[in-house]
Every structure is written in structure tokens, then in C-alpha cells.
């Protein structure tokens, strides 16, 4: 990827002329803002960005970015993006999708993209609801949720998107929140920097169909108890007074009170982005029912570990074979190995 040589652009250079049509108060606005804010700093020429989205409120994102973009069909953005990246690895490809788009109809492309590890960024705006179709439960909605399609409560266990991504061999898994702009910016930058598929789950409020779903993680009164920011090399600490920590007892994480019990930060679980076992446990804080304690929801880079990249290897294999066998001329392709002539 070339680096921009011209004058640095500003966030508003990334705003398209299209009027933004989300509902007032929609969390999507913040995500758009943060993306536009970090883009000038990524060192990618503007014309090399390509957004590919599916269908959903979230997927309208593409229209609002003054980059190349395709607002495609429901659930298929990941598959389309892999073709874009395979065809032109110089592009910085960003997939934008919703919880329904990515994890319901798009589930197969989601897991296979993680596995194949194309060097693209995959943002899932998780509002735990189908918004564009006006409010049905999604595969991330909580059990028991009452929606238009589940008037007596949903009987489905939700996916835990980061757990699923890890199970599908994702090389980068992160979570952030519409209401924490700075955090989101940092995560977006890391996602861009990561070589391979970067999966970023963004908790996004839909004030119309699923209001306040994530407010516990951003509201002043609750966030310090309910959320934990994880950072590579740092201990897992949270709580109103940063008084709580998480440490291991055997394989099990437990919540401890740091000062009282004489436990020092060094005894705590030190976050290691490259440790898949830790990442797995971290992602399962979600299922608090499996533990005695109520674990906080982790935000930040849950896992990041580089491994071979599909589009790079595709090009590398072509180069190797080219070097070894040389290109076959079109005439040779046409004639093949065995010919005969008739006069």
C-alpha cells in the first residue's frame, strides 16, 4: 500500500455529499465520526479505501464515506470484500455490517473470512436487533427478548461474537463502544495496523428498537463496574475505585479486591493479546452464568496474533510459480501440448 504523499486530509474530506439518514441519536453517527477522524492518519491514499457493506441501517455507512464503496446485498459483504482484496491487495478494504447481516445471514462468510484471513477490516455494529426491518430479535439478542417476531420472548441463546470469531480462527478480535469515541479511535487504528482480518465488534445503540442496551458499559454510574478495558501487558483491573482485579485460580478467573486482600496488581491476570486461551476466557466473560461472579464486559483488543494472510499468499504463490514455470504464451495455451496438422 502506498503512503499518501500529498497534504494530509482532514476528517471532513472523508464525508460524502450524501445526507446522513440515520435516526436522531443513533449510535451509528458516532462510529461514522470516529472512522472519519482516524482515516487521515492511516497513511493510506484516500482513493485506496474501499468500503463494502451488506444491508441494514449499519450498512448505509458506505454511502456516507467519501471513499470507494459498495452497499451490496444482505449478508454477503465479507464474500464480496474478499474478491475485492484478492483482485487488488493494494486497497484498504473495510467491511461494515450489522449483527444480523454479519452473524445471521452472513454467518458462513464471516467464519470463512476469519479462517482464510484476508487482510481486511470487519466492523460489526452490534445493536442486538434487526433495525432496518423494524425490530426483530437478532442472533445477538438476549434470551427472552420480546420483539415483534418474539412476542412471548426469544427462546434462542445468542452468539457471543468474539467467541465465535475466535472459534473460526480469527487473528484479531476487538470490542469497542459507540459512546467511547477515544477508545473506538484507538481500536480502529489497531485494526488497520493488524495484518490479516481484523474483527471489531462495536456496541451500537439503536434508540428506536433497542434503546440503552449497552448503557451500563458507558454510563458514568455503572461503567466502571460493568466494563473492563483490557490492554496488552496490563493487569485486569476495574471497579469504581479501581479496586477490583481478576486473577486466575487454576484455569478459572476470579474477581478479587486488590487492596483488602493484599493482592497486588502483579498477581492479577496480565492481558496478553497473543494468548488464545486467555482470549477465549475473556470473551466468555459474556456468559456470566457460567461463573459465580458477575464478570465485567471486556473492551479493547481481546486477541491479536498474526498468521499467514490469504491475499498475500495468493500473490506469493503466483510469483513463485511464475518464477519457476514462466508464463505460458497465449498461443501455447491455445495449441496445448499435442497438435497435428491437416493440409
Amino acid at each position: 500500500m502506498e503512503t499518501a504523499t500529498e497534504n494530509k486530509l482532514s476528517p471532513k474530506d472523508y464525508a460524502s455529499e450524501m445526507e446522513v439518514k440515520w435516526c436522531p441519536g443513533c449510535g451509528d453517527y458516532s462510529i461514522l465520526k470516529q472512522v472519519q477522524t482516524v482515516f487521515p492518519d492511516l497513511g493510506v491514499p484516500k482513493e485506496n479505501f474501499a468500503f463494502i457493506s451488506g444491508i441494514g441501517c449499519s450498512s448505509r455507512f458506505t454511502y456516507y464515506m467519501d471513499t470507494y464503496g459498495m452497499h451490496s446485498i444482505h449478508g454477503r459483504a465479507a464474500a464480496i470484500a474478499s474478491g475485492v482484496k484478492a483482485a487488488n491487495p493494494d486497497l484498504s478494504v473495510w467491511i461494515v455490517s450489522g449483527d444480523g447481516d454479519a452473524l445471521s445471514i452472513g454467518g458462513n462468510h464471516f467464519i470463512h473470512l476469519m479462517r482464510k484471513n484476508f487482510d481486511v477490516n470487519y466492523l460489526v455494529f452490534n445493536n442486538q436487533i434487526y433495525s432496518l426491518t423494524k425490530g426483530q430479535y437478532s442472533p445477538t439478542s438476549e434470551r427472552g427478548k420480546v420483539t415483534k417476531s418474539s412476542p412471548y420472548g426469544s427462546i434462542e441463546e445468542p452468539f457471543n461474537p468474539s467467541e465465535l470469531a475466535l472459534g473460526a480462527k480469527a487473528s484479531f478480535v476487538a470490542r469497542t463502544l459507540d459512546r467511547d469515541p477515544k477508545h473506538m479511535q484507538a481500536v480502529l487504528k489497531r485494526a488497520h495496523a493488524h495484518k490479516g482480518t481484523s474483527f471489531v465488534e462495536v456496541y451500537q445503540n439503536c434508540p428506536v428498537f433497542n434503546d440503552t442496551a449497552f448503557f451500563a458499559f458507558s454510563d458514568k454510574e455503572t461503567k466502571k463496574e460493568e466494563a473492563i478495558l483490557v490492554e496488552h501487558g496490563k493487569p485486569l483491573i476495574f471497579g469504581n475505585n479501581e479496586e477490583k482485579g481478576i486473577k486466575f485460580e487454576g484455569l478459572n478467573p476470579v474477581i478479587v479486591t486488590i487492596k483488602e486482600s493484599g493482592i497486588s496488581p502483579n498477581d492479577l491476570w496480565i492481558h496478553d493479546e497473543k494468548d488464545k486461551t486467555k482470549a477465549n476466557i475473556l470473551s466468555r466473560f459474556f456468559d456470566t452464568t457460567q461463573h459465580d461472579d458477575e464478570f465485567p464486559r471486556p473492551f479493547g483488543i481481546i486477541y491479536a496474533n498474526e498468521r499467514p494472510i490469504y491475499d498475500e499468499n495468493l500473490v506469493a504463490q503466483i510469483d513463485t510459480v511464475k518464477l519457476k514455470k514462466g508464463k505460458t504464451s497465449l498461443n501455447k495455451i491455445l495449441s496445448g501440448e499435442k497438435t497435428w496438422s491437416i493440409n
Binding site: Y68, R76, N88, L91, N108, K327, L330, W340
Partner: protein
């Protein structure tokens, strides 16, 4: 069959023949496909015109010796032009009882049977479900044929007695013995196959040697044994002069796509998911990494076409290949491609349907799906190949139309021509039509404004590659405002865009050849109107009937949407129009609806091509 000659030691009759059909038939493990290929390649190299038809079961290896496990390979070759793989055979090679049972019905009366007696023991007869105690080689049932009994298994063992090979390896060589016999019988040299053996087993010299030995042993057996007293001479055909190669339809499709990429200067991208009988195109193209071809084996057919849409958007020549069930899965995304107006070639190698149907058999029953199988008004060009080598031309055409008219194109071939082969007077690079590609590189509207859906005189919008500075823009599946491409819910605009998309496709009629009779005149009593892989049978029958004085003609459609501009006019020249199809009458419906011509359908849905006999009878009825 005229000349008679003598050879040293025994009397051998040598018959001249114009055309001969040989059917190799045996168990799936007997190597009949390879044997047939070697035989037909040799015939082709010696200048015969040929047509082949592999016919195998859908199980990988159905139980040995059973009727379900029979694998056949049919070769039609001659000193005259060959258009089909033949209705009936002159020679049937039957490696076991099941093979005889399955394939005897289509052996000509008076034809030859070369029977491997080892395949007619009690066990094999039982597996083939002959009644207890019945052996067709020993009763009167084959008196209408010349039966040549050869204990291939024993003879192969003898030939390899001191080869040091195990029984299994020796068993595997027995097809070479049969091939040797056949080469003797048709007076063909062994060179081509010897060379093939050498290359194939370069790393296993002992196997190579065994195969060579057996091949030669078969030839010598034919030469020396009294029961083999007839040889056939099929002279070289008077084909147009030039360089030839043998090619299957799938191979031709693959290199047609490649050629289009090379000529247009675009990188080739294939997004595909394996499915019979289309997979060979993926196999073939994935060999061409050195030519920069990118093949992506997708997780499913939807990802196959979607990745191709992505690649096309990014500026590659993008292809997706499949067969019926996969085609069904691609329809939603095909609608997107139609809306985006980007180039894309979708190859559907049709097979027997519906559902999983008859996966290894042929059919032409996806035509109406190709035409109408999308929600909303989503017209796109549909073209069809008519023979193995024509797959090259039509694959190339599909690319040309896709690129020059910015549209997805569906190319229909089918199992019969995809797997069948024929000699091909292949073109050289310079003979191929030009394909012009132009990516937009500066804004095309007034005041330096970009108009992604502004059309040229052919109603074609520009292709704009991400990465092009200053042309950033968004496209999508929602209805678009004319010219700007922005989302528009405006009622009148939707009508305008719907009509424009349709008119763009209609306009392609200006860039394809006019329809004209392949055989016969522009006016006649009966027109046989065909499309796709029925070309060979129809051509053969119609030419024969014209020679016999019948007032009949043949028009073959390769372009189905849009139809050639003059088709309506042309049809008026005929009193009756007969449309034979391997479906329940799909082209029939299109022709009737469009031209209000009371065309008559002739339909066959048996997973098999038309025989010339049945076609002829039907045409006669109309004369």
C-alpha cells in the same frame, strides 16, 4: 467396407469405413475413460474427425461388477465430418457382464463385441443380475453380432509374468491390452500411447514398462490370433487445413476465458465452488497461476459469485462457474451485478435436474432460469455453446460482451459438450477478436463531476476502478438515480432506469452476428431451430436429409438474449419451425412469446443427447 487383403500367416479382411463408433465399457475401476481417450486422441492425431462421449455413474466407485458401476466411453471417428458421438456403436468393448448388459441395446446389428471372458465368470454374471446359469457369451443371444472372446485378464497376467509386479498392478494394466487389440483392429500405430505412458509413469519406470508391454501384447494378439480376422481402415478426414488439437468443452471454456483475459489485458479472477460437471473449469484455470490467474475456491456458490463481483468491481475480468443447483444459489447476487452494471461471466454447465437430479447426465433445462431466474426486472445476456470447441468461442464472447457492455453474462454449456471432446482447428492469438477495455480515469460529467451511471452511445456506463484518484464514489443494490448513481426512490426514475437497463441489453443485438442457416436455405418447408449442444445431431440429420432432397433447414442459436436482430424476419421464411430441446420446451416458449410463431417443440428429457434417428423421424413427420 470394400477392400480385402491378405496378411502373412492368417487371412485378414481389411474394411474401409467412413465412420465408426466404438464404445468402451467396463467397471468404473477398469480405466475405460483413459482407454477411450487414448484411442480417440490417436484417431484424431491421424486426421480422423472425432467426437467423444464419456458416460459414467455418479458414485465415485459403485460396487464392482454391478450394472450401477458401469463406466462407458464412446468414440465416433471418421474420414467424414463427425457431428455427434453416434447413436449406435459398431464395436462394443465389454470388460464384464454388467457392461454388456448395459450397453448391448445400442450395438448395431452385425456389430462386433470384444468381450473380456474373465468378466463373465459366475460372480460377474451374478453381479450383473443375469439369471442363474445364463451366460450371454455361451447362449444364442448374441447371434446377431460378431463376438470376439478374449481372456484379457489371463493374457495380461501372462504378458507381465516376469514383470515382478503384484496382482493388483497387473490387473490395472488390462485396459492397455484391450487398447492394443483395438489399435490393431483399426490399424492405428501405438506411438501416441507409448509416449503418453512414458510421460505419465516417468517416476515409476516399472509401471511404464508393464503398460508398454501389455499394450504391445494386445496389438500382437490381434495380429496373430485367428479370431481377429477383420481390420478397419478409417482414412483421414478432409477437414479444413491447419493445426488441430483435441479439446473437451470444459477445457475449451477455461482457455476461452484465459484468452479473453490475455487479449483484454485484464487479470483473470475465478470465484467458484466445486460441482459436477463444472469443476474441471476450476481445475484447469487453477493450473495457470504463472499467468497470474487468481482462482478462489469459495465456501459456497454464493461466495463464489460474490467474490467475483468484488473482483470485477476492483477491475478484474471476473468469472464464476457452476451447474444447476449452484446456479440457483447465485441468483440473488446476480441481481446485484445487474444493478451494479459490472462485467461478470457466469458459466452454467447444465446437468439433469431438478434438484440434485441426474448430476452426471446432460440436459438443457436451465435456459428459462438463465432468462428469468432473478427477482425484479433483471435482464442480462444469455449465450450458449454448441460443441466442445465452440465453448472456447462462446466463453470468449461472454467475456467480450460482459466487458464491452458492462453486464453480467450467462454462458450455458452442458455435461454432454463439457466432457465430450472433438478436434479443434484452434486459432492463434492474432485471430482473436479485439476486446476493448477502458477504465474511467477522470470525471466524465460537466464541471468535473463524476457520473458513474452516465452512458455512452451503447447505453454502457464507465468501469471505474477503486484506487483511481478523484473518482471515489458509492454504488449499490438500491435503485439508482440516472447518471449520478445515487440512491433514488423516485417513481419515474425507477421506470427510466428499468427501461435503460433493458435497452442496454437489447442494444447488444447490434454487436452479435445475424442468424443464418447452418444448413439449408433461408426459405424452406421446415426449419429446425436449435440451441446449445444439440447442434451436432441436428446438423448431421438436416444435412443428410437435404442430401436426400428434403426441404429442410437448420438455424442454430448461440445468442439467446438478445436474439439476433434478424431472427424474427428469418423465421418467417419457414412454413414450420421445429425446436428440439433436451428439456420440456424452453426455447420454444421464448420464441413463441417473442415472435408469435407457432413453433413446435420436440423434447427429450433423458439425460442423453438426441439420436439422429429420433430427430429424423420427427422432422419427417413435419415434411
Amino acid at each position: 467396407m470394400e477392400t480385402v487383403e491378405k496378411k502373412a500367416g492368417k487371412t485378414t479382411e481389411v474394411r474401409e469405413a467412413d465412420r465408426v463408433v466404438v464404445r468402451f465399457s467396463g467397471d468404473s475401476g477398469d480405466g475405460m475413460q483413459l482407454t477411450g481417450m487414448q484411442f480417440s486422441d490417436t484417431a484424431a492425431l491421424l486426421g480422423n474427425d472425432i467426437s467423444t462421449f464419456p458416460d459414467y455413474p455418479s458414485e465415485i466407485r459403485a460396487p464392482i461388477g454391478t450394472v450401477a458401476g458401469v463406466s462407458g466411453f464412446q468414440v465416433h471417428f471418421g474420414s467424414k465430418e463427425i457431428f455427434t458421438s453416434g447413436d449406435e456403436y459398431d464395436v462394443l468393448v465389454a470388460m464384464n457382464a454388467a457392461a454388456l448388459k448395459v450397453d448391448l441395446p445400442k450395438l448395431k446389428k452385425g456389430g462386433f463385441i470384444i468381450a473380456n471372458t474373465a468378466g463373465f465368470d459366475k460372480k460377474n454374471l451374478g453381479l450383473a443380475q443375469y439369471p442363474e446359469g445364463v451366460n450371454p457369451l455361451e447362449d444364442e443371444s448374441l447371434t446377431n453380432y460378431t463376438v470376439l472372446q478374449v481372456d484379457v485378464t489371463r493374457l495380461t497376467k501372462e504378458a507381465l509374468a516376469d514383470s515382478g509386479l503384484g496382482t493388483k498392478e497387473i490387473e490395472r494394466s488390462k485396459n492397455m491390452f484391450v487398447l492394443g487389440v483395438l489399435f490393431w483392429m483399426f490399424d492405428k500405430p501405438l506411438d501416441h500411447t507409448l509416449k503418453f505412458i512414458e510421460e505419465k509413469f516417468a517416476k515409476k519406470p516399472e509401471i511404464a514398462l508393464a503398460n508398454e508391454k501389455t499394450l504391445k501384447a494386445g496389438w500382437i494378439y490381434g495380429e496373430n490370433t485367428e479370431i481377429f480376422n477383420t481390420q478397419f481402415k478409417v482414412s483421414a478426414a478432409k477437414l479444413p487445413a491447419g493445426e488441430y488439437r483435441s479439446i473437451t468443452g470444459n477445457h475449451a471454456t477455461a482457455i476461452g476465458l484465459l484468452a479473453a483475459a490475455e487479449k483484454s489485458g485484464l487479470p483473470l479472477f475465478l470465484g467458484s465452488y466445486p460441482i459436477t460437471p463444472a469443476t474441471d473449469i476450476l481445475h484447469e484455470l487453477s493450473k495457470y497461476k504463472a499467468n497470474g490467474v487468481k482462482t478462489l475456491q469459495a465456501e459456497d456458490e454464493i461466495a463464489g459469485i460474490c467474490s467475483a463481483i468484488g473482483a470485477s468491481y476492483a477491475g478484474n475480468l471476473a468469472i464464476t462457474t457452476t451447474s444447476g443447483p449452484g446456479m440457483a444459489l447465485k441468483t440473488e447476487a446476480l441481481g446485484l451485478a445487474t444493478m451494479l452494471e459490472i462485467p461478470l461471466v457466469v458459466v452454467n454447465v447444465q446437468r439433469g435436474g431438478p434438484s440434485t437430479g441426474l448430476p452426471t447426465k446432460t440436459e438443457q433445462s436451465d435456459l428459462l432460469m438463465a432468462m428469468h431466474g432473478r427477482h425484479g426486472e433483471a435482464p442480462l445476456p444469455v449465450i450458449a455453446a454448441s460443441s466442445p470447441s465452440d465453448c472456447f468461442d462462446m466463453a470468449y464472447e461472454a467475456c467480450r460482451i460482459a466487458i464491452e457492455h458492462m453486464t453480467p453474462v450467462i454462458l450455458l454449456t452442458d455435461g454432454y459438450i463439457a466432457n465430450g471432446s472433438e478436434p479443434w482447428l484452434f486459432p492463434t492469438e492474432d485471430k482473436l477478436a479485439k476486446i476493448s477495455v477502458k477504465f474511467l480515469d477522470t470525471p466524465n460529467g460537466e464541471n468535473n463531476v463524476l457520473l458513474p451511471y452516465k452512458r455512452n452511445e451503447n447505453l454502457v456506463r464507465p468501469w471505474i476502478k477503486p484506487g483511481t484518484k478523484g473518482l471515489e464514489h458509492r454504488i449499490g443494490g438500491l435503485e439508482k438515480q440516472n447518471e449520478t448513481g445515487n440512491v433514488s426512490y423516485d417513481a419515474k426514475n425507477h421506470e427510466t432506469m428499468t427501461r435503460l437497463r433493458a435497452a442496454k441489453i437489447e442494444k447488444i443485438a447490434d454487436f452479435i452476428p445475424l442468424a443464418k442457416p447452418d444448413s439449408g436455405k433461408e426459405k424452406a418447408k421446415v426449419l429446425v431451430l436449435g440451441w446449445g449442444s444439440t447442434a451436432g445431431s441436428i446438423k448431421m440429420v438436416v444435412r443428410e436429409m437435404i442430401d436426400e432432397g428434403a426441404d429442410v433447414a437448420h438455424v442454430h442459436l448461440k445468442y439467446i438474449n438478445p436474439f439476433p436482430k434478424n431472427l424474427g424476419e428469418l423465421l418467417k421464411g419457414y412454413e414450420k419451425v421445429l425446436i428440439p430441446e433436451m428439456n420440456c420446451g424452453q426455447l420454444l416458449q421464448l420464441i413463441r412469446a417473442k415472435y408469435m410463431v407457432p413453433a413446435i417443440g420436440f423434447s427429450k428429457v433423458q439425460g442423453l443427447p438426441f439420436t439422429t434417428a429420433e430427430l429424423k423421424e420427427k422432422i419427417k413427420d413435419l415434411l
